[in-house]
C-alpha cells in the first residue's frame, strides 16, 4: 500500500501552529524556524532525493481548531507526518485521533506532557523542554546553588502549572526542600496577594514559573516590597530579557536574579547565532519588525532536525512505521538546545536539561552546570 504524502520527489509534512490571535507569539516564528530548516535541507538536496513540502495550518491554540487543522492535514492534504503544536492543552486534544490513525506527530515547541505521558508510539515532543522537567530543574537549581531549604513557588493554574508543579514536588521531596506554592491565573493583574503569602512563608528563594507578564509583575512587586532573597525565573517567562528589565522598573529589581534557559547559549550567543542569521536571511521582512524573531523561534529547529534525521534513517523507501522506529532511537545534539535530543523505547520528551543565567539587567552570566528533574513517569 502506498504511504500517504509520498511521491518519488517529495514528501509532504503537515505543520500547525498558532498563526493568529492571542497566542501567536508562542508558535508563529517557531513554525517559521522549522520551515526555514526544511528549506535549507531542500537546498542541500533534500532527503534521499525527496524535497520536503510543507503544508501549514493555523491552529489558533484552541482545541476545536487544532483538531480541525489536524484532520484537514491528514485527510484532505494526505500528509506523511505531522510537525506541529505550540499549545499544550490544545495539542492534547488531537492525541486520540493521531494514535488511532497511526500518524506520526512531532510537536513543535509544545511541552504537551499530557500527550507524551503515558508514552504512545506516535507522539514525540518537548523539544523546548517538558514541563515536569522545568519544575524539577528549578528546585534542583535552588537547592544546589543556594542550599535552599524552603522555596516559594508561583505557577499557573493551567495544565502547564499542574505539570511543572508535579515535577517540582518530586524534586522537592528528593532534595528535602519545603515548597510554598501559589497558583495564579495567567491573566492576573494584581499579584499582591500571592506575593504576600509567599513572603510570609519566609522562603530562601522565590521561584517564578509563569509567563513573562505575571513574572514581571511578581519581580516588580518583590522589589517594591524590599524582598532580597534570590529570585529565579523559569524558561516560560524569559521571552525578552531587556524588555523584562524595563518592565520590572529597572535593574534595581534584578539584584539577585536568575533565569532558567534551555538553549545551548545565551540568547544571541555565538553557539546559536547561526539560527538568528538564518532567520534574518529567510524572512527579511519579518526580521525588520519589532520583537522579531519571537523569543521561542529557535525551538523549531530541533523539532525539524529530528524529523529530518528520522526520515534519513528511515531510508529511501520510508514508511510511517519506519520513521516512528527511527524517532524512538534518536539521540543527537542539536547545537541549539542546552541538552541533547534523546528519545527511547518509552521516552517521548526530547529535552530535560536546563541551564541557569544570572541576569543583572545588562549582563548575563552563565551559571555552571546543567540542571534537570528527577521526576519519573509512573505509568
Amino acid at each position: 500500500q502506498q504511504e500517504p504524502g509520498l511521491t518519488p520527489t517529495t514528501i509532504k509534512i503537515g505543520m500547525f501552529a498558532p498563526l493568529s490571535g492571542a497566542n501567536m507569539a508562542y508558535g508563529f516564528d517557531v513554525a517559521n524556524a522549522a520551515k526555514m530548516y526544511y528549506d535549507k535541507i531542500n537546498k542541500e538536496g533534500g532527503i534521499h532525493g525527496r524535497k520536503i513540502e510543507v503544508v501549514l495550518e493555523d491552529d489558533r491554540c484552541n482545541a476545536n481548531d487544532l483538531v480541525a487543522a489536524v484532520k484537514k492535514l491528514v485527510e484532505q492534504d494526505q500528509v506523511f507526518m505531522l510537525n506541529g503544536g505550540s499549545c499544550s492543552a490544545a495539542v492534547v486534544a488531537a492525541k486520540e485521533y493521531v494514535v488511532r490513525n497511526k500518524v506520526p506527530l512531532v510537536m513543535l515547541n509544545a511541552s504537551g506532557d499530557g500527550a507524551l505521558y503515558p508514552p504512545t508510539d506516535y507522539i514525540f515532543g518537548a523539544f523546548s523542554i517538558s514541563q515536569y522537567a522545568v519544575g524539577g530543574a528549578m528546585i534542583d537549581f535552588a537547592a544546589k546553588t543556594f542550599g535552599a531549604k524552603k522555596v516559594a513557588y508561583v505557577n499557573h493554574d493551567d495544565a502547564y502549572g499542574a505539570w511543572n508543579l508535579e515535577g517540582a514536588k518530586a524534586d522537592a521531596e528528593a532534595s528535602k526542600v519545603d515548597l510554598a506554592v501559589e497558583s495564579v491565573n495567567p491573566t492576573i493583574n494584581d499579584v499582591t496577594a500571592p506575593f504576600l503569602k509567599l513572603r510570609a512563608a519566609n522562603p530562601d528563594a522565590l521561584l517564578i514559573v509563569t509567563y513573562a507578564r505575571p513574572a514581571a509583575l511578581m519581580i516588580k512587586k518583590a522589589a517594591e516590597m524590599g524582598f532580597n532573597k534570590p529570585i529565579i525565573l523559569s524558561v516560560t517567562g524569559t521571552a525578552n530579557l531587556s524588555q523584562l528589565m524595563q518592565n520590572v522598573g529597572g535593574p534595581d529589581a534584578l539584584k539577585n536574579f536568575y533565569v532558567q534557559d534551555v538553549l545551548a547559549d545565551l540568547p544571541g550567543g555565538p553557539k546559536i547565532k547561526w539560527v538568528y542569521d538564518m532567520y534574518k536571511q529567510s524572512y527579511p521582512d519579518l526580521a525588520a519588525k519589532p520583537d522579531h524573531p519571537q523569543a521561542y523561534m529557535p525551538y523549531g529547529i530541533p523539532s525539524a532536525m529530528s524529523i529530518v534525521k528520522a526520515l534519513q534513517a528511515a531510508g529511501p523507501n520510508p514508511t510511517r512505521e519506519k520513521v516512528l522506529e527511527a524517532m524512538k532511537t534518536l539521540n543527537f545534539d542539536s547545537g541549539v538546545m542546552a541538552g541533547p535530543v534523546v528519545f527511547g523505547p518509552s521516552e517521548r520528551a526530547a529535552n530535560k536539561a536546563t541551564i541557569f543565567i544570572k541576569f543583572d539587567g545588562t549582563n548575563q552570566t552563565l551559571q555552571p552546570g546543567v540542571y534537570s528533574s528527577r521526576w519519573k513517569f509512573k505509568g
Binding site: A68, K71, A93
Partner: protein
C-alpha cells in the same frame, strides 16, 4: 420555495459524508453542534428577549455530564446526551430561579457572572472534570456499536440537530412560544393577559440551557477531549454573534448564522495574518448593512434583483 430549500438542505446533509473527507464531516459535526447552541440562544434572546450570557457554561455542563456518563458509567449515548441536556436544564432552572428577582440588564449580568464562575469550576474541580488537564471522552457507545470516527458519529449528530430544530419550531409555534414573545414585547401587558412573566422567563432560560446541554452531548459523540479553555465567555459571544448575524428573532436566522459563521471562521483560518481584522470588519459591516441578518439581506437582494 421553502420546500425546495428544505429538500436541498436534506440532500446536502445526506450526501456530505459520501463525497467528502472526515475533516469536512468533523466541521459539519461541529457546525451542527453550534446550530443547536444557537437554537437555544434563539429561544432565550430571540423569542423571549432575555440575555443569557452563560451559554458556554451550560454547554460545558452538558459535555462533562454526558462525557462522564458515557466514559465512566458506559451509558448508551442517547442516554448520555439526554443526561447532558437534563443536567444543564436543571442547573439552568436553579440559576433562573435565583436570577428571578433581577430585571433587565441585571439578569443578563448575573448570568455572565455565573458563566465565568462555572468556567472556573471546570478548571479547578479536578476530581470530576480533570481540571486543567482536560477530560478524555471515550467513544460513544450503543449496544456494541461504537462511534469512532467523525463519519460514524455524523448520522447521530444530524439526527439530534434535526430533532432539536423540530423541537424549536414546535415550541415557537405553541402557546409557550407566544408567551415568550409576549414577555419580550411588554412584560406588563403579558402579565395582564395572564402570562406568568417570571415563570415564563425561567422556563425560557431552562429550555435554552437544555439545548446547550444537548449540544454538549452532541459534542461528546465526535470528540475525544474537552478542556475548560473552550468553555469561556468567548464561546458564548460566538454563539450570540451567530444568532445576531443570522437574524435575531428567526429560527432560520439562528441556523443560518451558525452555519455561515462557522464556515466564515474556518475559511478565515486559511488567512491567519489578517484574520482578526477581517473577522471584526465582517461583524461591523454586517451590522451596518445587513442588520436584520444574513437571510433578510439575501432575500432583499434577491427581490431587488428580480424587480430591477
Amino acid at each position: 420555495m421553502r420546500f425546495v430549500a428544505l429538500t436541498v438542505a436534506a440532500a446536502i446533509l445526506i450526501a456530505l459524508p459520501l463525497v467528502t473527507t472526515g475533516y469536512v464531516v468533523y466541521l459539519a459535526n461541529l457546525l451542527l453542534t453550534f446550530t443547536v447552541l444557537c437554537l437555544g440562544m434563539h429561544i432565550v434572546i430571540g423569542e423571549t428577549g432575555q440575555f443569557s450570557l452563560a451559554h458556554a457554561a451550560f454547554y460545558g455542563i452538558g459535555i462533562y455530564a454526558a462525557g462522564i456518563a458515557g466514559t465512566s458509567f458506559g451509558t448508551p449515548f442517547p442516554v448520555s446526551i439526554l443526561i447532558g441536556g437534563l443536567a444543564a436544564a436543571a442547573i439552568g432552572f436553579v440559576i433562573g430561579m435565583v436570577a428571578l428577582r433581577m430585571r433587565d440588564i441585571y439578569l443578563a449580568l448575573a448570568t455572565f457572572a455565573f458563566g465565568e464562575a462555572m468556567q472556573w469550576v471546570f478548571l479547578n474541580w479536578n476530581a470530576v472534570t480533570g481540571g486543567p488537564n482536560g477530560l478524555r471522552i471515550a467513544p460513544a457507545r450503543l449496544f456494541g456499536l461504537e462511534l469512532v470516527t467523525d463519519k460514524d458519529a455524523y448520522p447521530f449528530v444530524v439526527a439530534t440537530a434535526v430533532a432539536m430544530l423540530v423541537l424549536t419550531v414546535i415550541v415557537a409555534r405553541a402557546r409557550l412560544g407566544r408567551s415568550f414573545r409576549a414577555v419580550r414585547e411588554s412584560e406588563i401587558a403579558a402579565q395582564a393577559m395572564g402570562v406568568p412573566v417570571q415563570r415564563t422567563k425561567v422556563v425560557a432560560f431552562g429550555i435554552s440551557a437544555f439545548f446547550a446541554g444537548i449540544a454538549g452531548g452532541m459534542f461528546t459523540l465526535f470528540s475525544t477531549y474537552i478542556h475548560p479553555d473552550s468553555l469561556g465567555f468567548q464561546t458564548t459571544i460566538l454563539v450570540l454573534t451567530m444568532v445576531v448575524v443570522g437574524g435575531l428573532g428567526s429560527i432560520g436566522g439562528a441556523v443560518g448564522g451558525a452555519i455561515a459563521f462557522g464556515l466564515i471562521s474556518e475559511l478565515l483560518r486559511q488567512a491567519p495574518s489578517f484574520q482578526e481584522i477581517a473577522y471584526g470588519a465582517i461583524l461591523i459591516l454586517f451590522m451596518m448593512y445587513a442588520p436584520k441578518g444574513l437571510f433578510a439581506f439575501l432575500a432583499d437582494r434577491f427581490r431587488g434583483a428580480r424587480h430591477a
